[in-house]
């Protein structure tokens, strides 16, 4: 993946085909997922807990190895990659986590810069001699997420919303071609949740990259996503525009009806 191919607008279509994941043999968590994601805009995946949303997202960047199926992105089948190839491919995919997953004892700046660890030689990370353009970019992104003044603060001194902002900055430091988010707002209050979604949506749009987000909050999904995918029992049961998502679909996705009134 050379710089030249990045410069020309690459095709950022993500295509998942026949994806199956069994943690325990014979008990699939994902039962054959076929989705082609658009090369830009936010796609929200909704569904009850334990339905495989997280597994699906983790299969895309190889944190979970699929049992079978294909994941095509940027001319690669991510499901087939191993070792170094997988590591190099992961650099192109940013990820935001529910529990932020910052390194608590490092500063905000170092957490942001750790998004570059896939690119920067280890000795540079060891000596904290990150390339100047990386540091400049980190300051830029910290400003963009509203934490410009917090660069030297330790991550464990931040609030949940601030931590998630650092998480977003770290993911974007990779200059990714795709942004994944696994329940990015589930640990946050409603107002902060909206702000975090706005940030991810805005910054990804600015970078021209697609976002795939797992989310429990249906309202947030409808508000920010251009497409909603409903999953239940390891299968896709709804796929369409947010407006098309009706109570009967929600009932099918989550089961039951009384909660919908």
């Amino acid at each position: 993946m050379t710089e030249a191919t990045n410069a020309a607008t690459p095709d950022r279509t993500l295509a998942v085909r026949g994806l199956v994941k069994e943690y325990v043999r014979g008990k699939p968590v994902l039962r054959g997922i076929d989705i082609a994601f658009a090369p830009r805009g936010m796609t929200a995946i909704i569904g009850p807990s334990g339905t495989g949303k997280s597994t699906l997202i983790r299969c895309i960047n190889g944190l979970v190895r699929p049992t079978s199926g294909e994941i095509h992105f940027m001319g690669l089948d991510l499901a087939k990659l191993r070792g170094r190839d997988l590591r190099l491919a992961r650099r192109r995919v940013g990820m935001v986590f529910q529990e932020y997953n910052l390194v608590e004892r490092l500063t905000v700046m170092e957490n942001a810069l750790s998004g570059r660890l896939g690119y920067v030689p280890v000795w540079r990370a060891f000596l904290r001699k990150y390339p100047a353009e990386d540091v400049a970019r980190a300051f830029e992104l910290l400003d963009a997420v509203g934490l410009g003044d917090f660069a030297h603060r330790r991550a464990d001194a931040l609030s949940g919303g601030q931590r998630q902002r650092v998480g977003i900055a770290r993911a974007l430091m990779q200059n990714p071609d795709l942004l994944l988010a696994d329940e990015p707002t589930s640990s946050l209050d409603p107002k902060t949740s909206v702000e975090i979604m706005e940030l991810m949506d805005g910054l990804a749009a600015k970078a021209g990259i697609p976002v795939v987000v797992n989310i429990h909050n249906v309202e947030l999904a409808k508000r920010f996503a251009v497409r909603v995918i409903g999953m239940t029992g390891g299968r896709v049961v709804f796929d369409g525009k947010p407006d098309a998502l009706e109570p009967k679909h929600l009932s099918e996705i989550y089961g039951g009806e009384s909660w919908l009134t």
Binding site: N61, L63, R87, L88, A89, R90, R91, R92, V93, G94, M95, F97, E99, Y100, N101, L102, V103, E104, R105, L106, E110, S114, G115, R116, L117, G118, Y119, V120, V122, A125, F126, G167, R170, A171, Q174
Partner: protein
């Protein structure tokens, strides 16, 4: 209401209660057995207070004159043995600790091999290590340093491995997701999480090593123990007292130092 009263709650199942009783019983048996094994001779026991009083009078006052002539240089040597030994330990214990941590090296033969080495290091007492190294390097501070290092590797390595296994996986996963190579993950994912524990362990071990290296002289491995051994052999109990006072003072100072440093690094 009666239905609720019918339901019983107990903390342990009958099998668990039996197991707990068995453990208590085993403890009592072990204590009784130990007391019978050590064969206390009553005559010596009755005599003990008198002997102790006699010894203390011989020890008092401590021979202060002995400090500048013999103790001081031996004390400095002891501190050098403890410090160098601890540094050597860290060099060897870090790789072993990493290899023993199951979450970092998910391959049990490697974990087991590393753990075996760590256990081997711990299973031998410092004094025994010192005897071995005195045989190898001859008497002196080098043997003492090696003995301290050999004994401490198991201690530091084991505690480091445990600290590594208790780290949060979230940040590690985040760095993996960013495509970081394993060296970077160790450096920026694991190390910051175990850093306070690591320095805590290292300082604690140094503190222990100051005390342990004080007795290594008894088997000829250098340090203040040599002065102690000489004094005991010639029945200079006032000199023995002076050595003991010095060791006590050094241990107290080391303790204060370690506590202060620990406060700063966490």
């Amino acid at each position: 209401m009666s239905a609720a009263l019918d339901r019983e709650w107990t903390r342990f199942t009958p099998a668990e209660r039996m197991a707990r009783f068995a453990v208590y019983l085993a403890c009592v048996v072990a204590i009784v057995w130990s007391i019978r094994t050590i064969e206390i001779i009553p005559e010596f026991l009755y005599d003990a207070p008198e002997q102790m009083a006699d010894l203390l009078t011989r020890m008092w006052p401590p021979d202060v004159e002995y400090y500048p002539t013999d103790i001081h240089s031996a004390l400095v040597e002891t501190l050098h043995i403890a410090t160098l030994g601890t540094i050597l330990t860290l060099v060897a214990a870090v790789p072993l600790g990493v290899l023993a941590a199951r979450n970092i090296v998910p391959w049990w033969p490697v974990n087991s091999a590393a753990q075996l080495l760590l256990v081997a290091s711990r299973s031998v007492n410092s004094l025994v290590w010192a005897l071995l190294f005195v045989a190898v390097f001859g008497p002196g501070a080098l043997a003492g340093t090696m003995a301290i290092a050999a004994r401490s590797i198991g201690f530091v390595g084991k505690l480091l491995a445990e600290a590594l296994e208790e780290t949060h996986n979230g940040p590690i996963e985040a760095l993996r997701a960013a495509g970081a190579p394993w060296g970077a993950i160790l450096l920026k994912g694991y190390w910051p999480q175990v850093q306070p524990a690591f320095w805590g362990i290292a300082l604690f071990r140094w503190d222990i090593n100051v005390r342990e290296s004080a007795i290594l002289g008894l088997v000829g491995a250098g340090g203040i123990g040599v002065a102690l051994d000489d004094a005991i052999n010639y029945f200079y109990w006032d000199r023995v007292a002076m050595v003991l006072v010095t060791v006590f003072a050094v241990v107290v100072i080391a303790e204060i130092l370690v506590t202060q440093i620990r406060k700063r690094i966490i």
